[in-house]
């Protein structure tokens, strides 16, 4: 187990290094010039040369990368001229929104998808199974940008069940939990939209795994011992079936970190995705770069964590 963790850690460092080059390259290979946005009307060759030197853009690309990565390691992602604040503070402010939505949506998705999949698998082809499979398949085919529009239109505008787009989020300045509680209503709508797509995904995976597990010999043994159907489903079958679910939770959270942009854009909720769309629109290179880096690293770390959790659930994986 310790060896497994160490090899995974080494791979993690390698991938993070490769990603940092990718983020750096993304912004430096793109056409356009950050000095244009900074200089505005005072764009003369002389002023431009000064700004280029200040930003270090007159040096060669390798030394620019080294300076940048050095700063990044000290937590300095640069300064956003468009926003007038440091990139790290922009990211720190907006990341919380994504965390709220992701946590809430994943909790909802687990609460709905797991029992649904377990009981569907109990009687494959039964009424519950067919109904749940069809309904979740429909939601699987509805992209979040369509769902959020209809949800806003129906639940917020028409029936006033939720606050609509642009609803203010109140920073309480206190702990994460208290802010979460204060603004729960604002986050419910986007979380529900995300949860619906996620439920469809998790349900499909877990149902398939459960069906396969229920054919295994240890289930037959448990049955022949006379254990109750409930105990077999929840204690014997669910655990070995949940490995795929865990892996895909990691992938899904990774996708959501960027995939939330549509929902945030529609609701004008200033999360990471929203900031990204705004920053690209303003040619705010450093913010785009910072967001890309932070998101990519989060993705890698989340996947690492999921890998470790997976081996705890199913120790056979680390030995393979």
């Amino acid at each position: 187990m310790a060896r497994y963790v160490v090899t995974r850690l080494v791979a993690l460092v390698g991938i993070v290094f490769a990603i940092s080059i990718g983020c750096f390259a993304l912004v430096h290979l793109l056409p356009g010039d950050p000095t244009v946005a900074i200089l505005g009307t005072s764009d003369t060759p002389h002023n431009r040369a000064i700004v280029m030197r200040q930003l270090g853009l007159d040096r060669n690309i390798a030394s620019q990368y080294l300076t940048w990565i050095g700063n990044v390691l000290h937590g300095n992602l640069g300064y956003s001229f468009a926003k007038g604040q440091s990139v790290s503070s922009i990211i720190a402010q907006s990341y919380r929104y994504d965390l709220f939505i992701i946590v809430l949506s994943q909790v909802i998705a687990y609460i709905v998808a797991i029992p649904l999949a377990v009981y569907s698998a109990r009687r494959a082809g039964g009424v519950l199974d067919q109904g749940a499979t069809s309904v979740t398949f429909a939601f699987y085919c509805l992209p979040s940008f369509i769902l959020i529009l209809w949800f806003v239109q129906l639940f917020a505008v028409k029936w006033h069940l939720f606050p609509g787009p642009g609803a203010p989020v109140f920073p309480t300045g206190e702990s994460f939990v208290s802010e979460f509680r204060t603004n729960l209503r604002v986050f419910l709508l986007p979380s529900a939209v995300i949860a619906l797509g996620t439920i469809a995904l998790y349900y499909r995976l877990l149902r398939g795994e459960m069906l396969a597990t229920l054919q295994e010999e240890f289930i037959t043994v448990a049955r022949s011992k006379g254990l109750s159907s409930r105990r077999i489903l929840w204690h014997h079958a669910l655990r070995p079936s949940s490995v795929t679910l865990l892996t895909s939770t990691g992938n899904n959270i990774a996708l959501l970190l960027t995939g939330l942009f549509v929902v945030e854009y529609k609701l004008a909720l200033p999360g990471i995705g929203y900031q990204l769309v705004v920053a690209t629109g303003q040619s705010d290179y450093l913010t785009v770069q910072g967001i890309a880096l932070v998101v990519a690293v989060t993705v890698v770390v989340v996947n690492f964590a999921i890998d470790i959790i997976t081996t705890l659930v199913d120790p056979r994986i680390a030995r393979a």
Binding site: I19, F137, L142, V152, F261, N303
Partner: protein
């Protein structure tokens, strides 16, 4: 281990398997039919007796209900909705098929090569692709489209290239399992060239995987194009795409739900059709593999 799950289900659960032997079922053919209609309408959009999707006629009635002259009614500017949806289908399919072709072309060929040749080529390609997979593609897509401009051709290239890593990984895995089989060793020991082995022995075995992932990729790219159009990063109004029709319809006050419903359903039906057809084909191929 887990990739065999579905064939395990096919063996274990009698009912669906019997159905699979009889055929694909009516819903499969409905889905195929929808995709066929979509393809025909897209190809013949110029020939069909449709109004100009962007033209605002002087005497046009805005928000008209469906009638003989406008089968799906008109939008808030009096443009024919049917014509705009069909033009949107054209945009979605062109971008979807173009990008999928790039993704499958590059990812498929490289994946097969990497798995067949192994060694250093495989090592470097896999490293590159796994980094690409960890990198949040949509950020790069949004940034590139914003800075490069979002013409249709740009979307095709960018979405195509960013779908390569996943396809590479899937095709490589499928090829690996085929490249280690006895018939490949037999062909090579008889002196068959690499190109021949790849084309005659390996490709037929990987083709089902490639086909199903082509269909899934197409669906994924059409959905992504919709989301990009929604934030204004696909073809621009007055040109229509499903995504920007949906975005436009929701920004007009008061919102005309009918206007929002038509492109929503078009996109929804298309994604259902693609995902269902892909899923049934995958089950079908898994079943035949399990039998042989």
């Amino acid at each position: 281990m887990r990739s065999t799950t579905d064939s395990a289900i096919a063996q274990a659960v009698p009912a669906p398997r019997r159905r699979a032997r009889r055929g694909f079922g009516p819903f499969y053919w409905i889905c195929v039919g929808w995709l066929g209609v979509l393809a025909l309408v897209t190809v013949f959009a110029g020939v069909l007796p449709l109004e100009d999707p962007t033209e605002i006629a002087a005497n046009a009635l805005p928000n008209a209900s469906p009638s003989a002259s406008h089968l799906l009614g008109t939008d808030d500017l009096g443009r024919d909705i049917l014509s705009r949806v069909i033009h949107g289908a054209q945009v979605s399919l062109e971008i979807g098929i173009g990008a999928t072709a790039i993704g499958i072309g590059i990812g498929g060929v490289l994946g097969m090569l990497a798995a067949y040749k192994r060694g250093r080529l495989d090592g470097w390609l896999s490293l590159l692709m796994y980094t690409g997979l960890a990198f949040p593609a949509i950020i790069a897509v949004i940034a590139i489209l914003n800075f490069w401009g979002h013409a249709e051709a740009h979307l095709v290239v960018v979405l195509g290239l960013f779908s390569v890593p996943l396809i590479f990984r899937l095709v490589r895995a499928a090829t690996l399992s085929s490249a280690t089989k006895e018939y490949v060793t037999a062909a090579r020991s008889q002196g068959a060239t690499s190109a021949r082995v790849l084309a005659r022995d390996i490709f037929p075995n990987v083709a089902p995987t490639i086909l199903t992932y082509t269909i899934f990729t197409l669906g994924g790219i059409i959905a992504t194009e919709g989301a990009l159009a929604f934030i204004g990063l696909s073809v621009l109004p007055p040109e229509s795409s499903w995504g920007n029709m949906i975005a436009e319809s929701s920004s007009v006050q008061p919102v005309n739900l009918w206007l929002m419903l038509v492109p929503t359903l078009a996109l929804f039906f298309t994604l259902v059709a693609l995902n269902y057809v892909g899923e049934r084909l995958r089950q079908h191929f898994d079943g035949t593999e399990a039998r042989s």
